[in-house]
């Protein structure tokens, strides 16, 4: 195989092939495995399956001064995630070394204890035997009762993939730094509060002692002090000293560099708040003003108590919990940030990498993004992290709201990924129903793109430049239609800003729609129809009919949701107000009385029309899908049902990442660590066999079937290429056939090629038996027509 002379010279023929048998063989521990990607029969996916935990998780550990390293909590807080993985042992491993190693406590020669604001340390290490690798973020919190006033903690992102941690090191570091900063800010606040209380106690104790001493002095007429009086005086002196020490600590905590806070994502308000409290406490601790208890107004009224001047170290005391160490709001906020981290980094590394590469490359295509990508989506993806990071939104609001803000990251991601689809719906709805006003508000709420940018867009459109959808539509030739489908989505971007523009676009739309229509006839002969296209599910039609009458069921379900859930459902595009109900149901459920729009097939995510599942189940699932975006710990079945909402994009690489994003927000906590990202989009046949319980196998199967049908269509028919070209280039494609099931099946298969086809926008008519009108070509890009 290798015949380079120098190799031969080095190894000799026999050496290279096999080690000689008469020599002691090289122990395997000193050698290298011949197959680096695990052993025989291994695959790129099996490499990560050796770990005892099912997927990546975050562990918070502490080096307790009483019991040593101990795990505190995991995110997600589900024992199924870390399985049999020994958290105690791993905590011991990651917390056994103090990497920060800065002096905290009484420095030699210093009269008072000194606080050092140590920088966080970041360590990547692993346990190759357990197959666990971790990014560990070490931080130190302050506790007045702790040894040296410090409590060392760490937050660890634990994964089975070492490369993932190293390749995402900077991103992990940045995200964990935010969480750490949040935790530390809360801790400083709590520490200052604790000092304030302690000073108040000391102050009160001093007053009491002083009074007692004075009484004793007055009572003493012998001219010398009794031992009791001396003891009291010593105690008083100790209290005085303790007050000075604690005042010094307050001064130190106040001296925390402001620039650090400004540099972080934490809001200045919190900073000020944090700084205010100690200053107030310090002020009140001043002997002259000690009586003024109202100065502690920012905290609940605290009744000072008599304390012992000398605090004795007791080892049976209960240390404060992490939540007590930090302000509750900050603690909650930190947990939200950690959940966010867990969400953005979970899953297979290849999807993370590809999405990062994708984003970088899309940014370079800003001048042509209108042709290929949804610009808003691109921008949003870029800003996704910033937008969805919990600290920021919650900083804009009072901290007490942070509890509600916990699921914010998921919500924002979902909005970002679904936005363009929502807007595309808008176009359709406006053209058909003229309800743009009410929808617009909804869409605008869910949009976060820069208005100026869209105005620019608008300008471009109106000027009719090469890049605009308008100019292309005016041309209306087959050549120009190659970008028509994209101009649709382009136009949809402008909708939230100007309804007038939308109307003008709708007009021009008609022009083009009528121009180019592809009519594809399916062969009536059974012999020529592939098995996949045959109506193997006769129940489909009945099921669709039952759907038609059930359109409003979904609304009732949503009405039963809790307010946040409902909010999410609104953002997802589900109708809520009565005026919107019809249009939304048309777009999503297709179950209204409007004849042209009542396409029952649209009610299902996969549009298959062959689902043998009771339709009601889908209506129940649909709202749950939206709930999913906001409720982190929603049950697995609802999450899986959420994934059903995605169209079958197996064949469209451009949707792979977008779909993944979607899956990121909706995927259940039971997805496995290595490839949860693919479970939604790839329609993998092993999905049902994965650890995820109660998945929607039928829907997944249908998605896969749609993809397979599309593949078979491509292989079967010689005209497949022009047909798909027509769809991709935005022309309407009509499929003629006698058998409804076959036509429906083919329409479903080809629907994956329809641009702007998504959960919200479905310009596909599976079956129509009446003659087509010219307006139908505005509405539909893919039509199944009875011959």
């Amino acid at each position: 195989m290798i015949s380079a002379p120098d190799v031969v010279a080095f190894t000799k023929e026999d050496e290279y092939e096999e080690e000689p048998y008469n020599e002691p063989a090289l122990p395997e521990e000193y050698s290298v495995p011949l197959f680096p990607f695990a052993g025989q029969g291994a695959s790129p996916w099996s490499k990560l399956s050796g770990a005892k935990f099912s997927r990546d998780f975050i562990l918070i550990s502490e080096f307790s001064e009483q019991v040593g390293p101990q795990p505190l909590l995991t995110i997600p807080n589900d024992t199924k995630v870390f399985g049999t993985f020994d958290l105690n042992y791993f905590s011991l491993r990651i917390m056994s070394v103090d990497y920060q190693a800065s002096f905290v406590g009484h420095p030699p020669g210093s009269a008072y204890p000194k606080l050092n604001f140590v920088e966080d340390s970041k360590v990547v290490l692993g346990d190759s035997k357990e197959g666990a690798f971790a990014y560990v973020h070490h931080l130190t919190l302050y506790d007045l009762e702790a040894r040296g006033f410090v409590r060392p903690f760490c937050m660890a992102y634990i994964s089975a993939d070492q490369h993932k941690i190293m390749q995402q090191f900077q991103e992990l570091s940045a995200e964990f730094s935010k969480a750490s900063e949040c935790l530390k800010t809360g801790n400083r606040k709590a520490f200052a509060g604790e000092l304030g209380k302690k000073l108040k106690d000391l102050d009160y104790t001093r007053t009491v002692l002083h009074t007692e001493t004075e009484i004793q002095k007055k009572a003493n007429d012998k001219g010398f002090y009794s031992s009791q009086a001396i003891e009291k005086a010593n105690e008083l002196a100790s209290v005085e000293k303790s007050i000075i020490e604690h005042q010094d600590l307050l001064r130190q905590i106040r001296s925390y560099p402001h620039r650090k806070l400004r540099g972080s994502d934490l809001c200045p308000g919190e900073t000020e708040h944090t700084q205010d409290l100690p200053s107030q406490a310090a002020t009140t601790s001043d002997p002259e003003e000690s009586a003024d208890t109202d100065r502690y107004t920012c905290r609940p009224a605290y009744t000072p108590k008599l304390i012992k001047a000398k605090s004795t170290k007791c080892f049976d005391k209960k240390l404060k919990t992490l939540e007590e160490l930090c302000d509750t709001e900050y603690f909650t906020q930190t947990l939200a940030q950690l959940s966010h981290i867990e969400h953005i980094f979970r899953g297979d590394l290849c999807y993370l990498l590809t999405s990062q590469i994708d984003r970088a490359l899309l940014k370079q295509q800003h001048i042509t993004n209108f042709l290929f990508e949804d610009l808003v989506e691109v921008d949003d993806r870029g800003e996704e992290k910033q937008e969805s990071a919990p600290p920021k939104p919650s900083h804009d609001r009072p901290p007490s709201r942070s509890v509600e803000e916990c699921p914010v990251p998921q919500v924002l991601i979902s909005v970002g990924s679904c936005k363009s689809s929502v807007e595309s719906v808008l176009i359709k709805m406006e053209q058909e129903l003229g309800e743009e006003g009410s929808r617009e508000v909804e869409v605008t709420e869910s949009s976060s793109f820069d208005p100026q940018e869209n105005l620019d867009y608008l300008d471009t459109d109106l000027k009719g430049s090469v890049s605009s959808g308008e100019s292309i539509e005016v041309l209306g030739t087959e050549r120009s239609t190659s970008v028509l489908s994209k101009s649709d989505s382009q136009a949809s971007l402008t909708v939230p800003l100007s309804p007038q523009v939308v109307r003008s676009k709708a007009v021009s739309h008609r022009t083009i729609s009528g121009d180019s229509i592809e009519v594809l006839g399916t062969c009536p002969s059974e012999a020529l129809i592939p098995d996949n296209f045959k109506a193997s599910y006769p129940s489909a039609i009945n099921e669709e009919e039952s759907y038609t009458g059930d359109g409003r069921g979904a609304i009732h379900c949503q009405a039963g949701l809790s307010p946040p859930e409902l909010g999410e459902a609104e953002e997802g595009g589900s109708g809520v107000t009565p005026s919107q109900t019809d249009s939304c149901c048309i777009g999503r459920e297709g179950g209204t009385l409007r004849v042209p729009l009542s396409t029952p097939g649209h009610t299902l995510s996969d549009e298959d029309g062959v689902v043998s599942v009771p339709p009601q189940r889908y209506r129940q699932k649909d709202p749950e899908f939206h709930v999913d975006f906001s409720v982190e710990n929603a049950n697995a079945s609802s999450r899986d049902s959420g994934s059903e909402g995605f169209p079958a994009y197996e064949l469209d690489p451009s949707h792979l990442l977008a779909s993944r994003d979607g899956s990121k927000t909706s995927l259940d906590d039971h997805s496995d660590a290595t490839s949860y990202g693919s479970s939604v989009t790839s329609a993998s046949s092993d999905r049902t066999s994965s650890s995820a319980p109660a998945t929607g196998p039928s829907s997944e199967r249908h998605k896969k079937r749609a993809g397979q049908s599309a593949l078979k269509f491509i292989r079967q028919y010689p005209f497949a290429h022009p047909a798909i070209y027509s769809l991709l280039s935005g022309r309407t494609l009509v499929i003629l056939g006698e058998e409804e099931a076959a036509v429906r099946k083919l329409v479903t298969a080809l629907s994956v090629f329809v641009p702007s086809y998504s959960r919200h926008a479905k310009p596909v008519k599976h079956w129509v038996s009446s003659p087509l009108h010219i307006t139908d070509f505005q509405k539909w890009k893919l039509i199944g027509l009875q011959r």
Binding site: S3, T11, L26, F37, W45, R93, V124, G126, L362, K704
Partner: protein, 481 residues
């Protein structure tokens, strides 16, 4: 071990290394876990600078930290674990390779570390794999050395009846020095000649008015195609630094920013050494018009390499990933086995001779002609030169091209993942994959597979099976399914 070790001393042996350029490395250390004294530093390597970057005490303190906690080490037999520290309090980053070994009769834990300033974090991270791979291999050899040395010493003690314990274990240091210095030099050269993250297309061949203006059309097509087929790993050699660097920059356009930061331009005056593990590197031929590639290092690169000679416009490539990895592993195993079998110091030292003598010219059959033509790069080149140069159009078009490639790669991964149920079933339908993903041209398949390999390591080996056959034979076999 503690009984055999030299007594603890505050002074640690230190090697100062003179480097021609700026050294981003502060120090390298070799430490071990003493059963009585805990972590101890045995040797320090530091660049020779006028300004003291880190005191020995600080280095020792940091090196000790790398082994702290390793008493709990729970590793697979023979594992060399990597630990990575960012100690903001100290302003340093430390990369440690922790391993177990037998030294002087005792099994203990050792750590070879390199220390860099924290400011170099973004510089270092893209080079992490290169550094780790190289240090890992030298540790593999050093571990055998330590083991064998003990045996030899025991024999000597028995024969001579003398104890020379103080000399023991020292000989691993020169071996480690033999790799630490090149790593320092590599980092130094990357500091001065690393390819920037952003490349101006105006500095590349893609800015030509027409294809073939600055280099032959077929050559450019072959170069880019093969470059992509070998996972973006290429060596560009030539006599003109300017010409070499232009091709280097052109090829780097097809890499991700992180991969560009792991690529190196050619030095104008004298040539750098070949460095295993870089993505693209420019190398200058010597006065005789040749450049000798070290065979072993080319073999130890994580990906196969494309060899591009800009003087004679030739493009040659190594076999695809699975063959390359298989060959690499066999070569490593045979090298370590030969090392293990060496019966004397002379035999072991023979490696040094081989090391210096090893050379390889791409005319030998490790590098082959580019056999598989592709349509992707060809179509790209045909179209990109139709766009007006000097504007951002070509950059945008390139970004779109790369986006398509990456999406195709992701699609391919998902296709295989789905088809094999995440590797639970063997993959049998290569022909279907080619048709379905429109990768019927072998070159196209190679390009997409190479991209997929980078984001999903092991894909080649999984698809093409154990490479007892050549890749061509394998594919023929698979095609019959």
């Amino acid at each position: 071990m503690s009984t055999l070790c030299p007594p603890p001393s505050p002074a640690v042996a230190k090697t100062e290394i003179a480097l021609s350029g700026e050294s981003p490395l502060l120090a390298a250390t070799f430490a071990y876990w003493d059963n009585i004294l805990g972590p101890r530093v045995r040797h320090i390597w530091a660049p020779k600078t006028e300004q003291l970057l880190l005191s020995d005490g600080e280095i020792t303190f940091l090196a000790n930290h790398t082994l702290n906690g390793e008493i709990l080490r729970n590793a697979e037999s023979g594992a060399i674990d990597v630990k990575f520290f960012v100690l903001s309090e100290k302003g340093v980053i430390i990369v440690s390779l922790i391993f177990d070994g037998n030294w002087n009769g005792d099994r203990s834990t050792y750590g070879l570390s390199i220390i860099l300033p924290q400011t170099e974090l973004s510089f270092y991270l893209p080079l992490h794999r290169v550094c780790v791979d190289r240090l890992t291999h030298i540790i593999r050899k050093g571990r055998i050395w330590m083991h064998k040395e003990r045996q030899e010493n025991v024999q000597k003690i028995i024969l001579e009846g003398t104890e020379r314990m103080e000399d023991q274990g020292q000989s691993i240091i020169p071996m480690l020095t033999g790799e630490v210095i090149p790593v320092m030099e590599l980092l130094s050269s990357m500091k001065s000649h690393g390819v920037p993250e952003e490349i101006d297309i105006a500095d590349t061949v893609l800015n030509d008015d027409d294809i073939g203006d600055s280099c032959h059309e077929g050559f450019l097509l072959n170069a880019i195609s093969s470059h992509l087929q070998t996972c973006g790993c290429s060596v560009v050699v030539g006599s003109s630094a300017e010409k070499v660097n232009k091709i280097v920059r052109t090829l780097c356009l097809f890499l991700t920013p992180a991969e560009r930061k792991c690529s190196r331009l050619c030095e104008a005056e004298s040539s750098f050494k070949y460095e295993s593990g870089l993505f693209v590197q420019g190398l200058l031929k010597d006065s005789t018009g040749s450049f000798v590639l070290p065979f072993r290092q080319v073999m130890y690169a994580p990906y196969p390499t494309t060899h591009i000679d800009v003087d004679v416009n030739t493009v040659k490539q190594m076999p695809p990933c699975h063959e390359h990895i298989y060959n690499q592993r066999r070569y490593m195993r045979s090298e370590l086995a030969a090392f293990w079998r060496a019966t004397s110091e002379e035999d072991m030292a023979q490696d040094t001779i081989i090391y210096t003598d090893e050379s390889f010219t791409p005319d030998l059959n490790i590098f082959q002609d580019v056999l598989h033509r592709d349509t992707l790069v060809k179509a790209f080149l045909d179209q990109v030169f139709h766009l007006k140069p000097g504007l951002s159009l070509r950059s945008t078009f390139l970004a779109q091209f790369l986006l398509v490639l990456h999406r195709k790669a992701l699609t391919l991964i998902k296709y295989i993942e789905d088809d094999t149920q995440k590797g639970k079933k063997p993959f049998k339908s290569l022909r279907n994959l080619k048709i379905d993903l429109d990768l019927t041209a072998e070159g196209d398949l190679n390009i997409i597979m190479a991209l997929a390999e980078k984001i999903k390591p092991g894909l080649h080996s999984f698809i093409f099976g154990r490479p007892f056959y050549t890749s061509v034979q394998e594919r023929d076999v698979l095609m019959t399914f």
